[in-house]
């Protein structure tokens, strides 16, 4: 689009070097994830690259081990609750921030971004201290609360972006036609921001499902999440079962990203058609 290309000139050499550097960085970014997947299907007890054979033995091992399965189910439970809570609470807050008149808006915004900029180790230890007193350590409620506050910033910002994209006149029109605020929200606002909300929910789920640091501190021996279980196992031995778990988690992430991309392109189409 910019300057016309001239092959052989120093400019061209500079561009080629830049491109090569960029692709090298891409390989660096993808390498660890891409190496683990083939290793996870190797038949041997020791991880080998490339694997000398194909076997789903380590996947079977994962599904046969109640400790892994329980940790996964517990992560799923906490993840679903945290996703629902973060999505609802975050959407409400985003509405209040954009459409409302909130006293102390700046402070609330600071509070929203807090869990992102405060180091997770600080939050983890602090929550451990208070949750112990409130008897929330090792409970589903405790995990769900912790994961909700960690996922909220991402929900609020995703929904804010969706709210800024559409024309507030549409809401004004609904109100001047006599619709109540709830009706306006249900029939005008919500359908327009729905893709943003769904995308926010997907991110909230990934954040909860992957969260390791806080979970490490607020779990106990019998109630732990999948990342906590992984953390323990990594410390003992680098077993191929972990490679299988890592590969499954990566596939889950890919699915969520593809889902979010799909939802976002729908949002783009919808907001474009909503413009006059």
């Amino acid at each position: 689009m910019s300057a016309p290309r001239r092959t052989g000139s120093p400019r061209h050499a500079g561009r080629a070097m830049l491109g090569a550097a960029a692709y090298a960085v891409t390989i660096f970014l993808l390498l660890p994830t891409l190496v683990i997947a083939p290793m996870s299907v190797g038949p041997e007890r020791y991880l080998r690259f490339p694997p000398n054979g194909f076997s789903l033995r380590w996947y079977a091992e994962y599904f046969a081990d109640p400790d892994w399965v329980n940790a996964t189910l517990f992560s799923l439970e906490a993840g679903v609750i945290a996703t629902l809570a973060a999505t609802v609470i975050g959407t409400m807050l985003a509405l209040a921030l954009v459409r409302g008149r909130l006293p102390g808006k700046g402070l609330i915004e600071l509070l929203v971004i807090g869990p992102v900029i405060v180091p997770h180790i600080a939050l983890a230890v602090a929550m451990f201290l208070v949750f112990e007193q409130l008897r929330l350590t090792g409970t589903l409620l405790g995990f769900a609360m912790a994961h909700t506050i960690l996922a909220l910033p991402f929900v609020v910002f995703t929904v804010l972006a969706a709210l800024y994209r559409f024309d507030a006149d549409l809401e004004r029109a609904a109100v001047s036609c006599g619709a109540s605020p709830l009706r306006t929200f249900r029939h005008v606002t919500l359908p327009l921001i729905a893709p943003g909300v769904v995308s926010a929910a997907l991110f909230a789920f990934i954040i909860s499902f992957d969260e390791a640091v806080v979970s490490f501190f607020i779990s106990n021996l019998d109630r732990k999440t999948l990342p906590r279980k992984m953390f323990e196992d990594i410390d003992y031995n680098i077993s191929p079962t972990l490679a299988a778990v890592a590969t499954m988690l990566t596939l889950l992430t890919v699915a969520a990203l593809v889902g979010s991309h799909f939802v976002k392109s729908r949002l783009d189409r919808r907001t474009r058609s909503a413009e006059p």
Partner: protein, 289 residues
């Protein structure tokens, strides 16, 4: 405005103060219980137990053992930030110039690691870096080394793995800043006779600086408090502040001292966040997905 605005909704844009507060209330309650109260209690432990004292802070800031951990943490965070910047720049520039499938592939290669579990990525680096791991196998096969190098549990390993984990936080802000520069600017500069290098130096680079600041700040802040990767990949010799906090709580049961360490961390993080207030932009990560 023909119809009379609803009592709650003035002109379709503004909820009343009461409605706004009601919408924000669940967040405020949750933020109090899971954020303000815990951090407040921990700081209270560090300052008032058993009596009002600054002794824990004095110990954290003057005892050589802990000072070394803090300086190491700052050093590693700084190295990781510089390394991530060097790696992120070419990728962000090429991304900003790409379109279509090429752009999609590049964006995916940044987003996939960003959203993949930190534990998964740390584990992957452990597998790659271990004694009979892929990297040592490659080094041996190429004849560069005769026996496997000790890579795991070294500071180099920590730096490599942390740079990998934090790289997307550097690429995305720079990419988004570069993307925001209209094509016309460089076209105008070149029409006025600037070479491509001069255009880059005088126009593109200065305009991309907010993205660079934002990326550096995010990576540095996240690196300072990093727990998972240094705890698993670093040896005892590479202890960083997060591991020290964890050790004080889990092994020494010294809440007051852990609180003081967290207090120092928070003061530092808040100071940086206030100085670079406009650089802390979360929308760059959610908006790009």
């Amino acid at each position: 405005m023909s119809a009379r605005p609803h009592r709650w909704l003035l002109g379709g844009r503004h909820y009343s103060r009461v409605a706004s507060l009601a919408l924000a209330a669940p967040f405020l309650v949750l933020a109090f219980v899971t954020f303000l109260l815990p951090l407040g209690s921990l700081l209270h432990e560090s300052l008032f137990l058993p009596t009002p004292t600054l002794a824990h802070y004095e110990r954290a800031l003057t005892a050589p053992v802990y000072l070394r951990v803090m300086l190491r943490t700052l050093r590693i965070a700084a190295i990781v930030t510089v390394l991530a910047l060097l790696l992120a720049w070419p990728l962000a520039v090429v991304m900003a110039r790409s379109t279509g499938l090429k752009l999609a592939i590049l964006v995916a290669s940044v987003l996939l690691p960003l959203w993949t579990s930190v534990l998964v990525r740390t584990y992957a680096w452990m597998v790659l870096l271990q004694k009979n791991g892929v990297i040592n196998q490659m080094l041996m096969a190429s004849g560069l080394v005769d026996e496997p190098l000790k890579l795991l549990y070294t500071e180099t390993a920590v730096v490599i793995a942390m740079s990998h984990v934090l790289l997307p936080f550097m690429v995305l802000p720079i990419y988004s800043a570069l993307r925001g520069i209209p094509d016309d600017y460089s076209r105008a500069a070149q029409m006025l006779g600037a070479s491509e290098w001069a255009t880059f130096r005088e126009v593109i680079f200065p305009l991309s600086l907010p993205g660079v600041t934002s990326g550096c700040l995010m990576v540095f802040l996240l690196a300072l408090g990093f727990f998972v990767t240094p705890a698993l990949i670093g040896g005892p010799q590479q202890m960083m502040i997060a591991t020290l906090v964890s050790q004080q709580v889990r092994e020494m049961l010294d809440w007051s001292f852990a609180g003081a360490l967290v207090g120092v961390m928070l003061a530092f993080v808040l100071l940086l966040a206030l100085i670079f207030k406009r650089a802390v932009r979360l929308d760059r990560f959610v908006g790009s997905a």
